[in-house]
């Protein structure tokens, strides 16, 4: 299948269309909304399911040498990407050092929903991938935050010397998403296929439907964010929100090829590098860099890069991964 066909097929999947519905409803100022508790419940489900499935897959195929290497590569990428993002932002935008560093932190980290959407595209297409990629996702959440704080400290801004108190480090490393993802992964490894047999009807069958409902909410939130901050996103920033994921994906692809991941693994590594956090990093930024404007980083990550990755990025990354690995 060529890249256009893939993109077209991706575009008319229910998941993408529910995201577009949410976006449109928000733009039209409909009062459609998903209660906060329900949205949080759905995201707990997605983390639990994706983590557990990854763990079961590792327990079935065993851990090949790639696991450690891939995690190291992920961590290095997470440290590195904010530096690239920061450099791009200083050229492409007029953001202050603090705002630019805060945005950069988001792009070094990852968006787990983009990962979930990408892995469900792989599953639908029948393309296998390394189950331990969810562990890599978890490992990539935090390092970017340190890079960003170092960027600020270097520029002498933001009192970042006292910013990273021990409380913050614990909060970042033990934030709920990471703990549930890694915990469910571990439980999947321990209980294996036998555990999967017990809870498959909950974990696997309704997964795509629940993803649709969750993406509806993401569309609503992203749309409301975009509507409330119109004017804030100058062309340069919007361009950054598209160029940066493509740069990240390229680096992710290089790393994945060096390690020798499968087609699916290469694609997921690209997705991780390309996606921008909107959960763990924004919270950390509010604590450590309160002077940075949340409207900038949230709108960019959630309103520009997330939709770009979801709608166009995923088929592009998949097509590239298939080309470079010679995968079908």
């Amino acid at each position: 299948m060529n890249i256009l066909e893939l993109a077209a097929q991706n575009l008319i999947s229910p998941a993408i269309l529910f995201f577009v519905l949410g976006l449109s409803a928000a733009f039209a100022r409909s009062d459609l909304s998903v209660p906060e508790a329900v949205a949080k419940g759905l995201s707990l489900y997605l983390l639990l399911a994706i983590g557990f499935k990854g763990g079961v897959s590792v327990s079935a195929h065993g851990v090949d040498a790639g696991l450690i290497l891939t995690i190291i590569a992920g961590v290095v990428l997470s440290f590195l990407l904010p530096l690239i993002a920061f450099a791009l932002l200083r050229v492409m935008s007029t953001l202050s050092v603090i705002d630019a560093a805060a945005v950069a932190a988001h792009y070094g980290s990852i968006s787990i929903v983009t990962f979930v959407a990408a892995s469900s595209v792989l599953t639908t297409a029948g393309i296998a991938f390394e189950g331990y990629m969810v562990a890599v996702a978890a490992a990539m959440e935090a390092p970017a935050i340190l890079s960003a704080l170092w960027l600020v400290a270097r520029a002498g801004g933001g009192r970042s010397d006292e910013a990273v108190d021990s409380g913050l480090m614990r909060e970042i490393l033990l934030n709920g998403s990471i703990v549930l993802l890694v915990g469910a992964f571990a439980i999947g490894v321990i209980t294996g296929e036998q555990g999967m047999a017990k809870i498959e009807a909950f974990i696997v069958a309704p997964f795509l439907g629940i993803l649709c409902l969750f993406l509806l909410d993401m569309g609503l939130v992203a749309g409301r964010g975009l509507r409330q901050t119109r004017g804030l996103l100058r062309p340069g920033l919007i361009l950054f929100g598209v160029v940066m994921p493509l740069s990240g994906a390229t680096l992710g692809m290089a790393a994945a090829l060096l390690i020798g991941l499968s087609t699916g693994g290469v694609m997921l590594m690209m997705v991780l590098a390309a996606s921008a956090s909107y959960i763990a990093v924004p919270a950390a930024m509010r604590v450590a860099l309160p002077e940075a404007n949340p409207a900038v980083y949230l709108t960019l990550a959630l309103g520009v890069t997330f939709p770009f990755n979801l709608v166009l990025g995923i088929p592009i990354y998949l097509a590239l991964a298939q080309t470079v690995t010679g995968g079908s």
Binding site: E36, S43, M218, V221, R224, I279, R286
Partner: protein, 103 residues
């Protein structure tokens, strides 16, 4: 009924700062507080709303402390240290309480 003068301090603060604020209050020996949820609001950093919020970063909470008047300054110092760099509002009202020995 017999009531006693006290101060009611209402601190509106980002949810991510709640733990740090309550820890600071405890260090300042504030004996009690109540945390109320906030649905949304508006201020210099714009309008926000809890509905459909996927990120912890954007919410706020209200922390209400009722204290003896003489302890007000200690509380405000403690809160201010934290709030200085952060968005949020502190509002103090005179009030009367029953059972003053609890405060």
């Amino acid at each position: 009924m017999q009531t006693h003068k006290a101060k009611r301090v209402e601190i509106t603060i980002e949810a991510v700062m709640e733990q740090r604020l309550t820890a600071a209050l405890e260090r300042a020996e504030v004996t009690g507080f109540t945390v109320l949820p906030v649905m949304g609001g508006s201020g210099r950093s714009g309008r926000w709303s809890r509905e459909g919020q996927v990120t912890r970063a954007a919410g706020m909470v209200v922390v209400v402390c009722i204290i003896r008047p003489e302890r007000l300054d200690a509380l405000l110092e403690a809160a201010f240290g934290l709030l200085e760099r952060h968005i949020g509002v502190v509002c103090v009202t005179d009030c009367e309480v029953l059972r003053a020995n609890r405060f």
